[in-house]
Every structure is written in C-alpha cells, then in structure tokens.
C-alpha cells in the first residue's frame, strides 16, 4: 500500500523556525508523522574558539551564544570563571548590578519570545507591543554600555562600569510600569478563545517526560517541576530576594505561556528589590591579578602594568574543573570549564538550554498538525545560536 506521505523541509529559511532551524517533516495530509530536527546551521565553533582565547576575551563570544539574552550568558560564564578562581565574594553593588541586568535580560528575552510566539500563531499586534517594551531595555543597555543587544559589561570580579546617573530611577520606573503594560498582552491573548484553542492541550509534557528529556526552565516548570536554579542552587545571592517560581499544571503550551508572563512580573519584583538594596560603592574587586583596575586610575604604573598584563596575557587559573549553572531565560545554562593552569581554558562546554529543550520537539510534534508544530517551536523558545553554539 502506498502511503500518502509528503516529505517537507521546514527551514532553514522559514518565517517561524526562529532562525535557521531545519525540520525534516513527514506529513500525512496535515498531520505530522515524523519530525527530525536538523540543527547546526548556525554552528560557529564558539567552544573551539574559546579554547584559544584568554578568559576575558571569551566574554563577547559567550554573549553571542543566546543572543536574545546576551548578558545572562556572559553572567553564567563569568560566574563559572570566578568559581574556578575561587572568588567567593564580589562587591555588593556589582552583585546587584549583575542581578538587575540579568533580570532585565530575562524580561527582554521573554518579551521577544512573546512577540515571535504570538506572531507564529498569527497574532500580529503582540509582536509590536512586546518589542516596544523591549526597546526600553535596549535603551538601558545602550545608555550603560553603548551597545543594545550585548552590553558585554560583566568582568571577572565585578562589572566594568557603573550605571550612569539617573538610570536607576528609570529602571525602577520601567519595572513598576511593566506589569501594567503587560495587561495589553493579556487582553490580546490570554483570554482570547482562539489563542486558548491554539495553545491548550498542545505539547503536553508530564514530569517524568521532563526528567527523561532533561528539560529545564519554563519547559520544566510548565509541567509542575519546581526547578529554578535561582532557588535550588542560588547564585549571586538570589536566595535573599522574595520571588515566586510560577508552576504550571497541565504542562501544555498555554501553561508555559502563562509561566513566562508571570516570570516577567517576578523579574520586575526582583529588580525593584535589588534597586532598593543596592548600596553605593565599588564595582570591582581589587585583586588586580584577575580584575581590571578602574579605568581612570590606569595612568600610573601601579595600575598600568597589571592592566596591560591582563589585557595582553590574561590571568592564570588553578588547575581543575568547575561546572556552574545559572537560570538563563530559556532554562538551565551551564558552563563546564576544564583548566590546565594556563591563561586559556583547556575545554569549555556550554550546556545551553535550547539545545536540550529542542530535541523533545520530535516527540511532541508526532501526531499533531503542522500548525501545532509551529506553536511547539514557539513554546520551546529556542534560539538557534543557543542550540548550535
């Protein structure tokens, strides 16, 4: 018997594969019989490049891993390097700046996810509303670091630059207003019957499946697995903040949608708390073997020479290996650094959330319609650079 199967490439150039993902889909009519993701169209060899660079010079590379949440990635890397060096404590102001920026990145990433996910399902307007709010965050980064997507401001032992004057108030205003603005999205999507029909019951995952497939982030929390690294393995002093980890019940696309919205609100809360507690003071540790001296002091020899050495040669790390995971917007982002005691990492493995989360799509898509496949790509929230590195 001849089966009525259509083989179809979805991607690498396709409006809703969020980049250059290629899905080799077999369709029976509109029903997906099998779905085989083909990744690597954005494999840039970042891990290999990092092996040949000093620790500091790898920071820009890590920011480009998940380009929707650049700062969150370099944060994970910096924390791993600090752990490797044994730096336990950094100045509190630097710590709070890191928290604020990380949470801002989370909001930016989720807003972009909302924009594209909504657009994939045909809702145009959320795209523009979400990106409008995201622009504010981009403005903060531009003001602070001079760059919109990748601030590239985290350094081993602190941050490179303090917030400019008045930015704290602006961030506070933004964090206070965002939950209000998010009501627009709720009106457009949350109670929209078409949206509910398109997302409820699509891509259902149980907790066992989540564990089996190693999912993390909102993909895991959507099924009710209480796993947020900010809570279970706190870094940057996240345990002192008062925030809630939203959990889903049904583990479907709609739950994950609600969770990401709620996470944005919780991030706003964290930002406000961090702004309240942020003291004045240093933003860099004063161990000039690993940390850059303040820029304005780099005129006399005492600071100039360590600065020069840091830039040109980098710093040496103890021999050993560390694994550090952080809660990136898309899930668990982990850096596994093996050091042989030289200025370069011997091996860096970036465990990216999208790479792991994406592979479940072949399971979820089976037996669903082609339109659901698009919804699934959106709900997994992949970034192809994050998948391919």
């Amino acid at each position: 018997m001849r089966k009525e199967i259509i083989k179809l490439n979805v991607g690498p150039q396709h409006p809703s594969t969020h980049g250059v993902l290629r899905l080799l889909v077999e369709l029976e009519g509109e029903v997906v019989v099998s779905c085989d993701p083909d990744i690597g169209y954005l494999h840039r060899g970042i891990e290999k490049l990092m092996e040949n660079r000093t620790y500091h010079r790898s920071i820009p590379l890590t920011e480009r891993v998940d380009y929707l949440a650049g700062a969150a990635n370099s944060l994970g890397y910096i924390l791993a390097v600090e752990r490797l060096l044994g730096i336990e404590e950094i100045p509190p102001r630097a710590r709070y700046i890191r928290v604020i920026v990380a949470e801002l990145t989370r909001i930016a990433s989720h807003l972009f996810w909302l924009a594209t996910h909504g657009h994939d399902l045909g809702a145009m307007t959320p795209l523009f509303y979400a990106l409008r709010d995201r622009e504010v965050i981009m403005d903060f980064f531009e003001k602070w670091a001079g760059k919109r997507l990748f601030p590239n401001m985290f350094r081993v032992g602190g941050v490179a630059k303090d917030f400019p004057d008045g930015m704290e108030q602006e961030i506070r205003k933004f964090a206070e207003e965002l939950p209000e603005k998010m009501k627009d999205y709720e009106t457009l999507l949350t109670k929209n019957p078409i949206w509910i029909n398109r997302t409820k019951g699509v891509g259902v995952l149980s907790i066992d499946e989540v564990l089996d497939w190693g999912l993390s982030g909102p993909m895991a929390r959507g099924s009710g697995l209480d796993f947020d690294i900010r809570k279970v393995d706190p870094y940057l002093g996240y345990d002192e903040f008062d925030f809630v980890v939203p959990l889903g019940k049904n583990g479907d696309t709609y739950d994950r949608y609600l969770i990401r919205l709620e996470e944005m609100r919780q991030s706003c809360r964290i930002i406000l708390q961090a702004l309240d507690r942020m003291p004045k003071g240093d933003i860099m540790i004063d161990d000039y073997k690993v940390a850059f001296p303040p820029k304005e002091k780099v005129v006399n020899g005492e600071y100039l020479i360590p600065h020069y050495l840091l830039v040109v040669k980098g710093f040496k790390t103890p021999k050993g290996e560390v694994f550090h995971h952080t809660e990136a917007p898309k899930g668990e982002l982990a850096f596994y650094i093996v050091s042989d005691g030289s200025e370069h990492p011997y091996r860096v493995k970036i465990r990216t959330p999208s790479f792991v989360n994406l592979q479940v799509i072949s399971k979820l898509a089976k037996g669903r319609l082609l339109s659901d496949l698009i919804a699934l790509i959106g709900t997994i929230d992949i970034v192809l650079a994050d998948v391919d590195r």
Binding site: T125, R132, N192, W195, I374
Partner: protein, 342 residues
C-alpha cells in the same frame, strides 16, 4: 436594434467604471490596511512615498509590473499560468450583480430624436446586470474563486503551495455550507432573491435588525472566504511560507494579491447589500453611501487582522460543521416562525 446597442454600450460603460473603481479600491485598501495596521501597532506605516505615503500601492504595482516574471517548467504549465488569471477574474466577477447605487441614469433618454426607455432590464440602475436570481449567481460565482488558488497550489510543483491548495479546498468545505444558510434568513424576510429588490425592501429598516445572527454568521463565513485573519490558513506565512503563491512572481503574484483584496471588497459589498441597506441612506448620493458602508466593513476586516490570532485548520472545520451550521439552521427556523407570526 439600437436599443440593444445602447444596452450593450451602457453595460460596458458600467463595467469599466466598476472595474476601475474596484482597482482603485484595492489600491486604497492596501494602503489603508498598511496605515491602519500601523496605527494599531503604534507605528507609522508607509509615509514616505508621496504625501502620507498614498502612492505606496502604486509604487508596489509598478515595481511588480517591471519585475522579472518567472514561468517555471512545471508539469501543468498552462494551468500554472492561467491560475492567477482565474483568481483575478473570479474575484472581480461577483460584482456584476451587486447593486452599487440607486439610479445612475434617468428613466428615459432622448437620443437622435427617439426616446429610449432605460427602465427595461434595469439599465438606469447602479448595477451591471440586475439578475433575477442575483444572490444565487453571486454565491455560485464567488465559490469559484477557490479554483484560482487551488490550481496555483496544485500546479506549482511545490509542496508548500500544494498544502496551501489542499487547505483552501478544505477551508471552502467548511464555510460554504453555513455561508449559504446564513443568508437565507434575509431572503426569507425579503421574499426575493433579486439583489435590487433586497435592497429596496430595506428602505425602512436594515435587515441586520431582523437578522443579527445571520449577519454575524455571514461575516464569519466572509472572513473565511476572503482568507483573512483569523482564517488566513492558505497563505499564512508562519506555517506555509507564502502558501499557494510561493512560486509566482511579478504580476502573477500581484493578481493573487489583487484578488485577495477584491474579495474583501466583494464580501463587504454583499454584506452591505444583504444586511446593511445597500446603497440606501439619507442626504448623500446613493453610490457614496454604498462606498462608505463598504469601506467601514473593510476597515473592520483590517481591525480584526490586527487583533486575532489564527485558528488551526481543523478547528475551522469543526467550527463550521459542528457549531455554525446548526446555529445557522436554527436561525433559519426561528426566522421562519417569526415571519409566520407577523
């Protein structure tokens, strides 16, 4: 003999005017859509091309006209080339029977010393052909629009187009049924299937007052027929790339584009005629009223596009068969009872 000649000439003039107005309407409509969507999205929309960007559609048209035209070596080459023409023609065709104004000519004219009665065959009215079975004709012809899309999808030798073609068929199967039933209430109230008579019957009260459910059902079906959000399944970018018109470039693609917008205008026009009193209205000339009403519905189409996500294609099907068709039937029965009582 000369009567027939004048009949032909008048019909031709009316046809040319209608087609010209429709094309102009599409040009304005596309511009309006982009501006209104911009307004909804808190941005400007096209505003560089001419004052306020009103020449935007013209620029698009000229560009598409002078773009390279590809004719792929597909298996069914003739159908592949003819498909856009079919799409354009079938989109324009229903307008032949839609009355767009009351009286555009006097009852009789004096030509070469002879008085010619223009009331015969409704020559003086604002309709190209005042068909006795007008609404049936329109329904029949507008269903044909599927063929353009279907053939385009089928003959392109492209799997995305093919899926678009399959989808358009199944979409048609879902809405056509309750589309037919939804307007029956109007016909029952009016007691006629001639378009001009339907309009005239609404002299005192628009049909939407008697048939609110019918109007809503008709609009839902209209969205599906025009393939607009939330039922723009056949060419939804996010799933099928460009859908059925993937393999068309230049003017062939433009014809599909044109057909889509003419469709919206046609559906708005039918809705106006059946439910919103057609060209009837105080003070202003009848043709203007018609255009205003159609424009309002057109804007409504755009508004919905800016608001709703897209349904899944099996959801449209179950919506049509399981919910809207029985509702339309019930509406018809209720109307029947009401008409009996009155």
């Amino acid at each position: 003999m000369s009567d027939t000649l004048i009949f032909v000439i008048i019909s031709l003039i009316k046809s040319v005017v209608v087609v010209a107005l429709l094309l102009l309407g599409v040009a304005i409509g596309v511009y309006l859509e982009r501006r209104i969507l911009g307004f909804i999205h808190l941005r400007y929309g096209p505003n560089r091309c001419g004052p306020f960007g009103i020449l935007q559609t013209i620029a698009d048209g000229i560009k598409l006209f002078f773009k390279q035209d590809i004719t792929l070596p597909v298996t069914e080459r003739t159908l592949y080339v003819v498909a856009p023409i079919i799409a354009g023609v079938t989109a324009l065709f229903p307008f032949v029977a839609i009355p767009f104004a009351d009286k555009v000519l006097p009852d009789a004219i004096n030509l070469f010393g002879r008085t010619i009665d223009l009331t015969q065959y409704s020559m003086n009215r604002g309709v190209i052909a005042d068909l006795p079975g007008g609404i049936l004709f329109i329904l029949a012809v507008s269903s044909l629009s599927v063929y353009g899309v279907l053939l385009a999808g089928w003959t392109s030798d492209n799997k995305y187009s093919f899926l678009g073609g399959v989808r358009v068929t199944s979409q048609m199967l879902s809405y056509e049924l309750f589309l037919g039933v939804s307007i029956m209430g109007v016909l029952m109230v009016t007691g006629s299937i001639r378009m001009t008579e339907i309009v005239e019957a609404q002299k005192h009260m628009w049909n939407i007052v008697y048939q609110p459910v019918g109007f809503i059902l008709y609009m839902i079906a209209g969205f599906a027929e025009a393939c607009r959000t939330p039922f723009d399944l056949i060419e939804c970018e996010n799933e099928l790339g460009s859908g059925f018109n993937t393999e068309y470039s230049s003017m062939k693609f433009a014809l599909f584009y044109l057909a889509e917008y003419i469709h919206i205008i046609t559906i708005s026009a039918i809705a106006v005629t059946l439910f919103l009193g057609g060209w009837q209205g105080p003070w202003l000339p009848s043709g203007l009223w018609f255009i205003i009403k159609v424009a309002c519905l057109f804007v409504f189409f755009i508004w919905v596009r800016g608001t709703y996500p897209r349904v899944r294609f099996d959801q449209l099907m179950s919506l049509g068969w399981k919910y809207l068709f029985p509702i339309a039937m019930a509406n018809l029965i209720v109307t029947g009872v009401c008409v009996l009582i009155s």
